[in-house]
């Protein structure tokens, strides 16, 4: 039996908007992440991926539900446990331009975690920063430079070094490559994979690029309007998607191979993603779903295991 590093049960995160409405960014999401694996989360913009990642990392207070990290509920930790959690779980961000404080040097940025957790000081700390720079493929001379002097890929590596500085066990990667060029994406993905192998890291990998998620993840969950609608091992999900939304999503990615691309059948969904302010009743996908029936409007489909380890939320599967 593999150990579950992170368990999320019935997670809800609702934002109360200044206009008075309630935005259900994440609505009743349950999943777990095994130690040492990479769980991919995909879905369209605004479906609540980042909110899930941040809630799991304890950045937001959560509206409802339970997040357990290494057996401890993150909302009822004592001060020492909270500090340890802040160290064990790290985060890498999407935008390499806004996720680094523009007024801090690379050395200060990477060293910040070391300072916060009082791990090292003086020469030892500098040596460690050099080590980290080397680990992510930057050179020593970069230590006194400012973030704006780096390219997107280099900045993303600074962000990774910053997270690694405190020896984390778990990293939430929130679209770490979507702002980068194709050629640079591969650098970052390879780095993340190498680091995972070297330090036995566990990743929650959020992205909307399905092919990269397919490459890096062991299991993948698909979100739609605040809900998980399908989750399975990567192979299973991509070869045998069951939810009509997952099917459409996978079919919509153009394949970078003209012959295969020609042969492929794309499922075109009608309409746009509804606003998360007024999610349709019943199945959130029903107004765009090619196989929706009356029944779909009646109740929210349960997120059930259909075959071994393959969970789907659709009454017509």
């Amino acid at each position: 039996m593999r150990t579950k590093m992170l368990e999320v049960e019935g997670l809800k995160k609702h934002f109360h908007l200044s206009g008075g409405g309630v935005l259900k960014a994440v609505d009743d999401v349950s999943f777990y992440v095994y130690e040492g694996e990479t769980l991919g989360i995909v879905g369209e913009s605004g479906c609540g991926k980042s909110t899930t990642g941040r809630a799991v990392k304890g950045i937001y207070g959560i509206t409802e539900g339970k997040v357990t990290f290494n057996g401890k509920n993150i909302t009822s930790m004592n001060k020492r446990e909270r500090k340890q959690f802040a160290r064990d779980a790290q985060m890498i961000f999407q935008d390499p331009y806004s996720s680094l404080n523009p007024r801090m040097t690379v050395g200060e940025l990477i060293g910040e975690g070391i300072d916060i957790h009082g791990l090292m000081r003086g020469k030892k700390k500098v040596k460690r920063i050099y080590e980290l720079l080397d680990l992510v493929g930057l050179n020593k001379e970069h230590i006194n430079r400012f973030p704006h002097e780096f390219s997107g890929g280099q900045r993303q590596r600074i962000g990774i070094a910053r997270a690694l500085a405190v020896d984390p066990k778990f990293i939430v990667c929130d679209e770490p490559i979507s702002a980068l060029d194709v050629s640079i994406q591969a650098q970052v993905i390879n780095l993340l994979e190498d680091l995972q192998r070297e330090f036995q890291l566990t990743y929650l990998f959020i992205a909307h690029d399905l092919s990269m998620v397919r490459h890096i993840s062991d299991r993948v969950g698909v979100m739609y309007l605040g809900k998980l609608i399908e989750m399975a091992s990567t192979e299973e999900l991509f070869t045998n998607p069951m939810h009509p939304y997952t099917k459409a999503l996978i079919s919509a990615i153009p394949v970078p191979d003209p012959i295969q691309e020609e042969k492929r059948e794309t499922i075109y969904l009608k309409g746009d993603l509804p606003s998360p302010m007024n999610v349709p009743s019943g199945c959130p996908f029903r107004n765009r779903c090619p196989i929706a029936t009356k029944e779909c409007a009646e109740e929210v489909p349960a997120f059930e295991e259909k075959t071994d380890g393959h969970r789907v939320a659709c009454i017509h599967v």
Partner: protein
């Protein structure tokens, strides 16, 4: 591809620089290409390689200064438009060529109803009556797949979703049936399911109205789906051009190899590490003397550092600029071609006509 088609656009040795405090940024260092009638030409390349500057340069959208046209000629349907001023361009825009951008919100007027924005071009460039214009607006909105166009025409851009705004942009661009549509990353800001809809729409327009399209993107999947011809740019210059099959199955330039190698492979079960291109592109303030890709190129030779390789033809319409294909480098090229297959699609296509 229908051959012997009329050329809609010809660009010849276009060079554009920006004068900045740090020096002259040589954003475009010589690009030549043409677009035939009904053709979709895709421009791909790293961020900062000059894709947007090329397209904005053609449309005369760059503020001068800091931009400066250093050389080159642009011909639209055979007519030289290089020296056109703002007013003359204004006439061409909309009627002959149109452009859509990545972020539709920046180019839509937030205070004007969508229907009126579409009608503007028609008023300017045609002498249709009011009723005719209105029915054309509705027709356009229907064509780009906006549901309930009569109602939607009277709404403001902020009441539209991102995908719908992009459709409106396309409707505006197509109002006067331009010969050429330049689309700068039209779907980058959109979700894949919406992207699929927009690409289908552009494809349909290209087929039905024969509008030529220059499609700028960094998504090689989109290129594989849409393009007839592909221009791969690096550091302000094209490094390889060719049709889909040339570029994807028989690429010649190491940068193209790198781009294709960096994509996760879905056709093999084996989980191999991605091939990454390390390093960063050169600073265009002081571009290198030799090949701009040399500092990141696995196969770089001494000559690459000293001389800039010229474009060579390797088959009809398939050109690349790389010293590896020089006769003096044949031994080394044969060696690496034996070991690797550089296109996508695995062994099938490897060595199909290696060496050109």
């Amino acid at each position: 591809m229908e051959n012997e088609n009329k050329k809609v656009l010809e660009v010849e040795d276009l060079r554009i620089s920006f004068d900045t405090y740090a020096g002259e940024v040589q954003a475009i260092r010589g690009i030549s290409f043409d677009v035939k009638e009904g053709e979709v030409v895709a421009i791909v390349g790293e961020s900062g390689s000059g894709k947007s500057v090329t397209s904005q340069g053609i449309m005369k959208l760059l503020p001068t200064p800091p931009a400066r046209y250093k050389s080159g000629a642009i011909r639209l349907e055979g007519k030289d438009i290089t020296g056109y001023n703002r007013k003359q361009m204004e006439k061409l825009k909309g009627s002959k060529m149109a452009m859509i951008f990545q972020d539709p919100m920046t180019s839509l007027n937030p205070t004007m109803k969508v229907g009126r924005q579409i009608a503007e071009g028609l008023k300017k460039h045609t002498n249709l009556s009011k009723d005719k214009i209105h029915s054309r607006v509705i027709e356009l909105l229907t064509m780009v797949g906006i549901p309930d166009p009569d109602d939607r025409a009277n709404r403001y851009p902020h009441e539209f979703s991102g995908g719908m705004r992009q459709r409106v942009m396309i409707a505006i661009a197509l109002a006067c049936e331009p010969k050429l549509l330049i689309a700068d990353e039209p779907t980058t800001a959109l979700d894949v399911t919406i992207q699929a809809q927009i690409l289908k729409l552009m494809d349909k327009l290209n087929e039905e109205t024969g509008t030529s399209i220059i499609l700028i993107t960094h998504d090689l999947g989109v290129v594989a789906k849409m393009a007839d011809r592909i221009i791969v740019m690096y550091a302000g210059k094209p490094v390889e051009t060719g049709n889909k099959h040339d570029i994807f199955y028989n690429p010649k330039h190491p940068y193209t190899w790198g781009l294709l190698g960096a994509l996760p492979r879905v056709d093999t079960d084996k989980k191999e590490p991605l091939k990454s291109i390390s390093g960063t592109p050169p600073d265009l303030i002081s571009p290198p003397k030799g090949c701009a890709f040399a500092n990141r190129c696995e196969h770089a030779m001494e000559v690459c550092l000293e001389h800039d390789p010229a474009m060579q033809e390797y088959g009809e319409g398939h050109t690349a600029a790389c010293w590896l294909h020089h006769p003096n480098a044949k031994e080394y090229l044969d060696q690496i071609m034996e070991k690797h297959s550089f296109g996508v699609g695995g062994e099938k296509y490897a060595n199909q006509n290696a060496g050109g």
